[in-house]
Amino acid sequence: MPPTQNRVMVLTDSTIGADGPALDAHSGVAPAIRLEGVHKSYGSVRAVDGLDLTIAPGEIVAVLGPNGAGKSTTTEMITGITQPDGGRVEVFGQPPRVAVLQGRVGVMLQAGALLQEATVRDVLRLMHGLHAHPLPLAEVIERADLGGFLKTRTEKLSGGQAQRLRYALAIMADPQLLILDEPTVGMDVEIRRAFWASMRDLVADGRTVLFATHHLDEADTEADRIVVLARGRLIADGTPAMIKNRVADRTITLADRGVRLAELARLPGVIGAERMGSRLQLRTTDSDRTLRAMIASQPEAAELEVVSASLEDAFLTLMRDEQASDGHTLDGQTPDKLSEDAR
């Protein structure tokens, strides 16, 4: 068993309850999700490898990680579809299966199945009666914007329409915990935006959301908190800002006039310098020192801009560190590659 705990980078501040149990003791409220030392293997593959994670009610959490990081397996254990080999999984302080039966959990499975040879309305009606305290059907149809294709048979739906039906099935239970596994796959940009607006509206009253995505911009804008998984382990946990700060590097760009790239590359802190069109771009570990030295030695430097790392940079750095610390590769997966994989 590799020592996972010391490699987990928990970016905690006072608002994030990485120490869930302590949080309970104070508030008396069970966490929405608690995973303790959870393991799950498929044959020789360790899908989830000692995962500890606590999510408080009302949090909106994004799960990031390359394919095979254990995101879907984790989702399945939280919904009681899959049983862990070891460790504990609790949802609102109960076994997942119980929470699901009580209608407290709504799930949008990755490429989840839809009943064949039935119309959208048939599927909605069938599923509606199976929940303990469902949302009114009309509201479900409205929120998921299904009104335009209720009579369409499920096998004839477009990718985006099918996702909206899956979303409808997920919110139908009127759940306190909403789990969305790559919800926006197959949606075009406009529908994606509308989808998140609808989701925000639904959860504005304090529902908990856990979503997995390959679109890092969605994690950045929609989540209060991001957890990053790699090979079934938690490798980072914090707000989007904290995750981004993980990458201390800044990028300085300036006009390609009156300065020499080779000289800029020798400035303190600079770890990379290149020409990008009409501008020069420097990567630096300490933008303040680099800028002071640049202004002192390069009086011609003009049109300066300093940009902090994006979530994508942070994610790539995390993945690289994870790879380096383990001596394994992640099959060269990058977020760009991941977006493609996600169809």
Binding site: A113, Q116, H131, R143, A173, A197, D205
Partner: protein
Amino acid sequence: MTTFVADRSPRSDPSRPRPRRHLSAPVHYAVHSTWLTLKNFAFVIFAVGMPLVLYLVFSQTFASGSTPDARLASAMIMVSMAAYGSLGAAMSGGSQLALERRSGWFRQLSVTALAPRSFLLAKAAVIMILVLPSLLLVYAAGFVVGGIRLPVAVWLASLGLMWLALIPLAILGIVLGLWVKAEAVGGVTTLVLLLMAMLGGLWVPVDLMPSAAQALAQTMPAYWLAELGRWPMLPGTSFPWVGVGVLIAWSAGLTVLGAVGFRRAAATSKR
């Protein structure tokens, strides 16, 4: 274009009206699932239409005329075809399950208030409802077209006994749905249906079979399904208790097989 609706009062208001569930989850599932199946053209043709047509053809060919013997022969054919049709309906319920298992719909259902065990019970209930059209329509044809006249009590006893005798066959359908891959389930189901029908003497009367086949037939649920259906029509014959025993044994064995298959299906259903 797309709106997804943005203005809504928050849900936390406890006074907000909620739709009340009128039916328990398994009953709701059984009712809706039955309705969806009855809307399915292929099901209606094969499980309901075909036995009806077969009865009409066979009875007109082999049991035409209005002698009491011809009426009795027509009634026997009617029971065989009703048994064949209901057997087919029971099998097709199982193949549906295999398809749902492959597509992952099985998993989608498992994240509702319908517990997996209740799901299988509901599925069995659906099959027990879906066998009824085959039975009733063939019997109706026997009355209307075949001119079969029997006391009401005999009709009801025959239908009731056949319906009960279909229990192990409904379980067999579920077992096939749990064990057979979706790609193969169509073929396997048809094969099992034909074997059951042939060995059970639904196609060719058992009396015409060689003795070994006759002995084998007496271990088959389809044979006893038809025997129980005929018994009320043949006064003076003793009640086939052996058949009840055979059917119970099949039910027990298949339930065990189903329980094992269910555990396996839950663990390996498409991820």
